[in-house]
Symmetry: C2
Subunit: 343 residues, 2 copies
Amino acid sequence: MASKVTIYDIAREASVGIGTVSRVLNNHPSVTPETRKRVKDVAIRLDYQPHTYAQRLARRQSETISAIIPFFTNYFFIEVLQGVQDKISQLGYDLVLYGVNNIDQVDSYISRALQRGKVDGILFFSMRLPERMISRLKETKLPMVLVDTLSPEFDSISVANAEGAYAATTHLIELGHRSVGMVNAQLVSAPAVERLQGYKRALESHGISYSESLVKSGTNNKADGFNREAGYEAIMEFINNGSEMPKAFFVSSDIQAMGVIAALSEKGFRVPEDVAVVGFDDIELARHIKLTTMRQPMYQMGVLAIERLVTRMSNPDMEILHTTFSPTLIVRESCGALRRNQN
Amino acid sequence: MASKVTIYDIAREASVGIGTVSRVLNNHPSVTPETRKRVKDVAIRLDYQPHTYAQRLARRQSETISAIIPFFTNYFFIEVLQGVQDKISQLGYDLVLYGVNNIDQVDSYISRALQRGKVDGILFFSMRLPERMISRLKETKLPMVLVDTLSPEFDSISVANAEGAYAATTHLIELGHRSVGMVNAQLVSAPAVERLQGYKRALESHGISYSESLVKSGTNNKADGFNREAGYEAIMEFINNGSEMPKAFFVSSDIQAMGVIAALSEKGFRVPEDVAVVGFDDIELARHIKLTTMRQPMYQMGVLAIERLVTRMSNPDMEILHTTFSPTLIVRESCGALRRNQN
DNA sequence: CTGAAAGCGCTAACAC
DNA sequence: GTGTTAGCGCTTTCAG
């Protein structure tokens, strides 16, 4: 029998008014210890459970946060999501998930999250925020934080792409490489642009001149070029162009690095002996294929995203904050550093 | 300014009662076309949005489904989740996600989902349903469907493990192998038991006698032995035992197969030339490492899970249904079949 | 400190 | 057809 116990039942059994019951249940101070105990006992005996939606309606608060995430970035978001989930349930909030399989769903999900009273805040992941939505979002004043994407109008949590690319490239240079190429994603993507900058800067700081012919992207633009095939194609371009193969590559994502390595070994280049490779992201896969890469603190980013959101909720006029995390270099075998050390 | 428009505002502006407004908004038939239009126009002009929780309270329906999923099965659930999400939003429901990072969270999440009126149904993934929860679940009569796990008391969607194992093993046998071993997970896991059965049955049907010494598990029991290290260890056991290495392996999961292949190549066995391997799951990784495996129709399972749940919701006394999907063999390079064909 | 009463915004049964 | 009214279950004044 589904418990249909309401505060009225408790009030009757405990011979008090519903107001008192409500106070007890919400730990309101002004209740005598005696009545408090009496009410509590009855509540437990009756196995009372509050009706979530009645509370939400009366409190004018949803205790719910929704996350709009692209399912196609898979690896990244799943780890961030774990941080989000842990923090969110620690706070007693609910997480309603809007997983985007198709970019067209974004608008409708935003609209849904915007329904009056529906959620207290939104987390928006990895996608460009549609221009036409910004004003609506601003109007409703619904707190939102962006994760892995940017907009001057909203708080954001992201990763220092340029810095990470700088570190990755520098690592390769310090390993003795003077000829380091880059396999990048499409430049429509902000992270791709930033990672390219970091790469250039690293070259520059080490007195190596930048050569456009050493950076390739592939043509497959699924996920803005952050995909395995694009990595594969990029290497093939080097080969088909007859250009000389660099001795090292910084690749803008691990998943592309997969393709890079496949193409390389298909063409007889050994990694890392002939060509060293460093990726970006540290997806779970990276560990398995022993890829040296830049790790983003994904779980932490999730946790912080919720913390920031909650802060914003209780402090709507707080100045907008953009936080960027520094990725850390994870040295595995694909860069050749370990082997070198052993000698 | 956040729209605070209620049906009262609409009623006033359109000079009708709130009942009529509600009827129009809910497409109730008994309203004149004229008033219907008038009300609709006002609603649009005022940018009216229903208050979700007021509706849920009044309708005694949450239009929400919650999914309790283990985050540690990563690859599998994320694909299933896409099916779940697509179907769920097509039905206009909300998905509240309870991601389990730690098995202890299960009880508390179930309790939360069980809160009066909170959700219309639950999807429970991949984990053993805690015994002590079964009676509570039954009592509340809240519809629930299990995905990738079983209990006689609830509807379930799962994969035909024995059948898949049979197919995988048979494939190896048909490739000419008479000595095929199995690397299995821990037998506390139902899928592991079933996959072992399928393996045995395949041997038997092809007149090959089963030998216990050909199946190993490794000792790492994280995720019930469905992990990379366990696969690695299993192969090492073969080597340390001095037992002869089988020429082919059926491995109970792709992630274990990763470890198997790593161990094999570390010990100088080439895959598939020296040892053929077939996995199970077809996680995304499998494609990258060219692993032959048994594919589970994950997206479809997600879609069906929601369909089943919705059916159960509108038909509580329906007989309990257990659906099993047949996995399909995906031939890639690790089994040696492709190479063979080329000859 | 506590009870009564007035909402929160919507649905649905009931009259006319 | 349409307006009125009574809830849905809880929170929160407002008296006392």
